[in-house]
Symmetry: C2
Subunit: 296 residues, 2 copies
């Protein structure tokens, strides 16, 4: 396993780094960004928060636009921002629309040809990248890969925006043992019933809607999946995708039915952009830090 | 005078807006970004801080990458981020290099053909944009255009990065009555003697180096210009442009000779990027707020 460092920048007492590696899950080179707070650089075991970005974004977007690093530095969290899809898979139509293919991997494992050859962001996020982080202390010092918070488990949290909010919710519900904290900003909560999700899931997973339910947060709740912590979600009321694509009300209903703890907050007049994200990001970092450090 | 709003986004309790207008100084349409804190939206007289970005940047860069909005919201400052050059002047060679022409206006008034037809960012920054802001309360509420801080003057401050740091220093020294506070991040301080400056000034101003001195911070200090407040400058020690292009030591010497108050801070291991800027930006906003609100 080779991981190369493409960039490194001092930032808020720590370091922001960009890595590239040959991903087994994707069958392609992949990039991800990392922020290491000062304590992690000094070797202290530090919790890790994954950041999943939305449609059209890259491994750079979340760290550049969300203003999250200042808050991660304060709380001593490592940040990991993967890409939003494989890059350069060479699949016909891959670059034709913003909501399918490049920049639109939906954090799932495609089962339908031709997408299934490379579009396996599901196992990339949930298996390959956490394992790589744990096994590469020479490039990522201070990862809490052994006992964390005295609980004998790795301390990973997961957060995402829009398509990435879908990814965070789905991965946390599918594997609450790995992802110990979860939050989302303006997430797609029920992709099976909205246009973005129907287009992507039809292409990646085929027409059998039963297969879709394993990658859909509302469906997972309905099928009995739970997360032991409260899910934090922030949503702007002037988000142009709110009523057609995001539908947080559907998650709220499913969580109520399931007994899943959920804090869903609406923000008057805010839209879908990173201008909204930066307004609420401090609360999300505090949410994850509290749980991952065992204070929540 | 027509100013149209291209974008508006709620952010940190205020609003981020992008405007376009037909600039008289530039003879072209020009864009600028603004952040209005909540108090300004409610009509309260609020100080204004100009943000001048560096080579290759646009009117979007500083607000997107510096994380400054959270701090401006805290201090109740209006932010104004102009572009770094005219756009679409149609001058031969304008788009051939990153350090001359588009994205590289150096915040001066070109006197040499063909640049002099449009490259007049000097008067755009110092005259047209402040006047436009004062005269357009319908698009920019809460501008302190009358008495501010009880001192009977407009309260404008100016800050910049790299080429924009040069712009901030030069404009503040040339017109300390307008620009009541000044700071810079990794600025070009003596363009007349470094490669970026020599290339740009030769093209924009011609070969007479006496004309250059009016757009050069060190030369202005040497010629007797002063700013009544302390200039704040932050500089990373691992900035690859430090020794050849930026040379803060030359400003430090000139300020000492001139009796100009200057706080120059070096930051170990930091580079020229916005990852550095976001690390120190809170101090810059506090610096300007203190002076512009009469507390410094």
């Amino acid at each position: 396993m080779t991981v190369s460092v493409l960039e490194t920048h001092r930032c808020h007492g720590g370091e922001m780094r960009v890595f590239q590696h040959d991903s087994v899950a994707l069958g392609l080179p992949a990039r991800f960004s990392v922020f290491l707070p000062s304590a992690a650089l000094e070797g202290e075991a530090s919790p890790v928060l994954f950041l999943l970005a939305g449609l059209t974004c890259t491994h750079e977007t979340f760290l550049q636009k969300s203003t999250i690093i200042a808050h991660a530095a304060t709380h001593g969290l490592i940040l990991v921002a993967p890409d939003t899809s494989p890059r350069g898979a060479g699949i016909e139509g891959e670059d034709e629309s913003y909501d399918l293919g490049t920049g639109a991997g939906f954090y799932l494992d495609a089962t339908r040809s031709p997408w299934s050859s490379h579009y396996r962001m599901g196992r990339y996020i949930s298996e390959e990248l956490p394992a790589l982080l744990a096994e590469a202390p020479e490039v990522l010092p201070g990862l809490s890969s052994g006992p964390a918070s005295g609980k004998g488990e790795r301390a990973f949290g997961i957060m995402g925006h829009s398509m990435g909010g879908h990814g965070a919710l789905v991965h946390a519900l599918r594997n609450a043992g790995l992802w110990r904290s979860v939050s989302a900003l303006a997430p797609i909560v029920h992709p099976s019933v909205v246009p973005w999700g129907e287009k992507a899931f039809s292409a990646y997973l085929g027409s059998d809607r039963k297969a879709w339910s394993r990658w859909d947060a509302v469906s997972l709740l309905n099928a009995g999946h739970r997360h032991p912590t409260a899910i934090l979600i922030d949503q702007g009321t002037s988000d142009t995708f709110l009523s057609q694509e995001l539908r947080p009300d559907l998650l709220e209903q499913a969580a109520a039915d399931a007994g899943q703890a959920l804090t869903l907050r609406y923000h008057d007049g805010y839209d879908h952009s990173y201008w909204f994200i930066q307004t609420v990001i401090a609360d999300h970092v505090a949410h994850h830090a509290g749980i991952l450090r065992g204070r929540a």
